[in-house]
Subunit: 147 residues, 2 copies
């Protein structure tokens, strides 16, 4: 039997606001991120590689929910800057593992410091309840994004 969900009329309007708020927040974060040489997407990839170790183009594309072609462009930019390097995949010649170089590790750490600085300031202006609400929304947002 199909699942029937009835929403109050206001729910749709609010979801639209969610979309608007999402766009605004992302623009703000992107703008705040600029200032060193790393872009938003590049930072995200460095974070992935730092957290999980070497990954393939397809892995990274999946993790960030972009197409492999788009990820390929981001990786090329990082490679140009000497922040990531290629390693052959041990068993599958088609795949390529990307890992952080020493510079990449350093860049990732510097970046994390910067990000914490801004986030701490911004978050300090939210009260604890707002913060809890935001963090609680992370999982539902991911579910909605991947549904």
């Amino acid at each position: 039997m199909a699942k029937i969900v009835t929403l109050p009329p206001s729910a749709h309007a609010s979801v639209e606001e969610l979309l608007q708020a999402t766009g605004q927040l992302l623009r703000r974060l992107r703008a705040e991120s600029s200032g060193d040489n790393l872009t938003w997407s590049q930072t995200a990839v460095l974070g992935q590689l730092g957290k999980h170790g070497p990954k393939t183009t397809a892995d990274l594309a999946r993790a960030e929910a972009v197409k492999p072609q788009s990820m390929s462009a981001t990786l090329a930019a990082l490679e140009d800057q000497g922040l990531v390097e290629r390693q052959p995949h041990p068993t599958d010649g088609r795949q390529i593992l990307f890992g952080l170089t020493k510079s990449g590790v350093a860049a990732r750490e510097a970046r994390a410091r910067l990000k914490r600085t801004w986030l701490s300031g911004a978050i300090a202006q939210l009260d604890a309840s707002d913060l809890r609400t935001l963090l609680a929304a992370v999982e539902p947002m991911k579910r909605l994004a991947n549904s």
Copy 2:
């Protein structure tokens, strides 16, 4: 006295996840939006004009948290499609009010229908608690974006 906020170590990591989730959700929504001729930004502007009536470039830029120049480009695209039209400002010759044309009203309604269709499907896969959590996050997100 300065406001001191102490966060648990996990909070920063979670905020990073919030950023990632924000990006993923926006990409998903953008991708889902394509299919007719209106882009994401254009749809947002139609929504603003439909909800609040004619507004100036600066008003719209503020509402969407973009620069006036960026809004000008979006408005030009909408004008090319015959969806918005200019009206002189009654008292200030520098300002220009943009309002929906008949086509614009129709486009906005068609768009809202489409959006509801996708949103309803996506939302149906969230449970009521997730939905509440998401909607509760809207205001904190806006505060964070504008802080």
